[in-house]
């Protein structure tokens, strides 16, 4: 690998890492602010203007908390859990094309890579919950893994429909094909809906936040965690949310494309910058919807969750796949 490529990629990695972290930090702020606004309150407004320093204050608080490991916990795994969760959350972002040339790794199986890392993500929860040696944590971990497995199926099936349309597993190619207003959501409205629902479930967001559910499991898999280990779990969930909003935007909402913008005619630097801003805006809108849903809908019951996943979403996803296949055969 030539040196300039290594430097370019390292800069990109650092930049996207910083952006992801920044967005995750400010998602916690946005979550509280939007929740407050939806409930006719003001939300955090004491730390800085509009409470903008709140994430910083939260971070300091997390660091100052006592680092506590239960005496019956499996120490090594207890520590590894949050780290693994954070790691997988961050790794997923590597294949998202932020612009025509703004992609850390242009894998030709990008979407498979995303699905793969999302599935590995459950290990972080599973290990953390099991190692805590606490029944609430174990329940949270069991719920998380069964929920993820159930919803990954439907997710994979709707992604197959996208792959049939584009003929590629490469996220960059998928994004390129949606040039102008040729967005996949137009051809795959149902797929989009199902993907969004499964994405909510994969991120453990309400109404699918059964692994955590404060009211039943007092925090679920992270009941026993404190200090920055807890911080890692909470933070990684916001990263997951950000990344999955970015994946949704790439798969269905045209990626970095916007009607009226032709990047090939532009100066590469300007083009990439504009492309980044476009996808970033779409992603933030997605994050807003995630938060909005959380503060609107109540949590599912566990059997309802399984019913929705296995008996409704998977058949619908298969139907969607068959119809897309037929459509591709007839019109394609």
């Amino acid at each position: 690998m030539p040196l300039y490529l290594i430097i370019e990629k390292s800069v990109l990695v650092l930049f996207l890492f910083a952006v992801t972290m920044g967005v995750a930090a400010y998602s916690t702020w946005a979550e509280r602010k939007i929740a407050a606004f939806l409930q006719d309150r003001l939300g955090p407004n004491r730390a800085g203007v509009f409470g903008l320093l709140q994430p910083l204050a939260d971070g300091v608080k997390m660091f100052m908390k006592e680092e506590f490991i239960p005496s019956n916990a499996e120490k090594l795994l207890f520590i590894a859990g949050p780290g693994l969760f954070m790691f997988t959350a961050l790794m997923t972002g590597a294949v998202i094309p932020w612009g025509p040339n703004l992609q850390i790794a242009d894998l030709n199986i990008g979407i498979l890579y995303v699905l793969g890392f999302v599935s590995v993500g459950v290990y972080g929860i599973m290990i953390g919950g099991w190692a805590s040696n606490n029944k609430y944590s174990l329940f949270g971990a069991i719920r998380a893994s069964s929920q993820m497995i159930s919803y990954e199926l439907a997710m994979g099936l709707v992604v197959i429909a996208i792959i049939m349309l584009t003929g590629s597993l490469d996220l960059k190619a998928i994004a390129e094909q949606q040039k102008g207003f040729n967005w996949n959501i137009i051809y795959q409205p149902f797929g989009f809906l199902i993907y969004c629902i499964t994405a909510l479930a994969e991120c453990n967001r309400a109404p699918f936040d059964l692994p955590e559910c404060e009211t039943e499991l007092i925090g679920g898999f992270h009941t026993e965690y404190s200090s920055m280990k807890l911080g890692f779990y909470l933070f990684a969930e916001y990263i997951n949310m950000f990344i999955s909003a970015a994946v949704i935007a790439t798969l269905y909402l045209g990626g970095y494309n916007m009607p009226g913008l032709d990047y090939s005619a532009m100066n590469p630097i300007v083009g990439n910058a504009i492309a980044f801003v476009v996808l970033f805006t779409k992603t933030l809108l997605g994050v807003f919807v995630f938060i909005w849903v959380r503060w609107t809908l109540p949590r599912f019951r566990y059997d309802q969750l399984m019913h929705l996943g296995w008996k409704i979403l998977i058949p619908l996803a298969i139907l969607n796949m068959l119809l897309t296949g037929a459509g591709v055969l007839i019109f394609g």
């Binding site: 606004f37 006719d40 309150r41 003001l42 809906l193 909005w292 849903v293 503060w295 609107t296 809908l297």
Partner: protein, 187 residues
């Protein structure tokens, strides 16, 4: 049967239609409702900067009144402490010495008078029990402190000042109490 409110609805248990079963329209309309609240005027009162107005009979922090000449009215009879359901009041009585007539109205006075604001439930029974019109609840708010000890208010916090501008006006409460019956009949 007479309806209690005009908001009652007749519920039915008929099967849901397909659209209702799909839930998506209902979810979208629910999200519309929450979005409407997003742009609504917020009902928060940002407390230390803004204060909401209280009713004239609001029961807040206590005051120990002085009489017109500036002598403390309390005679340390202890009736307030007995009446207090939260046992928030403690006091030590002392005898008035010669020359202290301008300080204390009665021959016996409270050398120490403490109310624990963490125990107090602001019920106002102390005020009702007092035979000397000495203790009143005011619309003032007890602030928050970092230390528990700070919530125990001694005489320095409770007794009103002598100067006219330091006096605490309790006429509204007094009026309300004295006209309790008539106010209850036609509020």
């Amino acid at each position: 049967m007479q309806k209690l409110t005009n908001r009652s609805k007749v519920v039915s248990q008929k099967d849901m239609s397909f659209l209702e079963k799909a839930y998506v329209p209902a979810i979208l309309s629910g999200m519309g409702i929450t979005l409407k609240h997003f742009f609504k005027k917020k009902s928060t009162v940002a407390y230390p900067e803004q204060e909401r107005s209280f009713s004239p009979v609001y029961r807040g922090r206590h005051v120990l009144k002085r009489d017109d000449k500036g002598a403390e009215r309390c005679t340390a009879c202890g009736l307030c402490a007995v009446a207090c359901p939260a046992e928030a009041i403690t006091m030590t009585a002392a005898e008035r010495q010669k020359g202290e007539e301008s300080l204390y109205r009665e021959e016996k006075y409270a050398a120490v008078y403490e109310i624990n604001m963490l125990r107090c439930i602001f019920c106002g029974l102390c005020e009702e029990a007092c035979p000397k019109e000495a203790i009143f609840l005011t619309p003032n708010i007890t602030p928050a402190y970092y230390d528990r000890q700070d919530f125990v208010y001694g005489k320095d916090m409770l007794v009103e000042g002598i100067a006219p501008e330091d006096r605490v006006d309790v006429s509204k409460r007094q009026f309300w109490r004295d006209n309790l019956e008539s106010t209850q009949k036609n509020p």
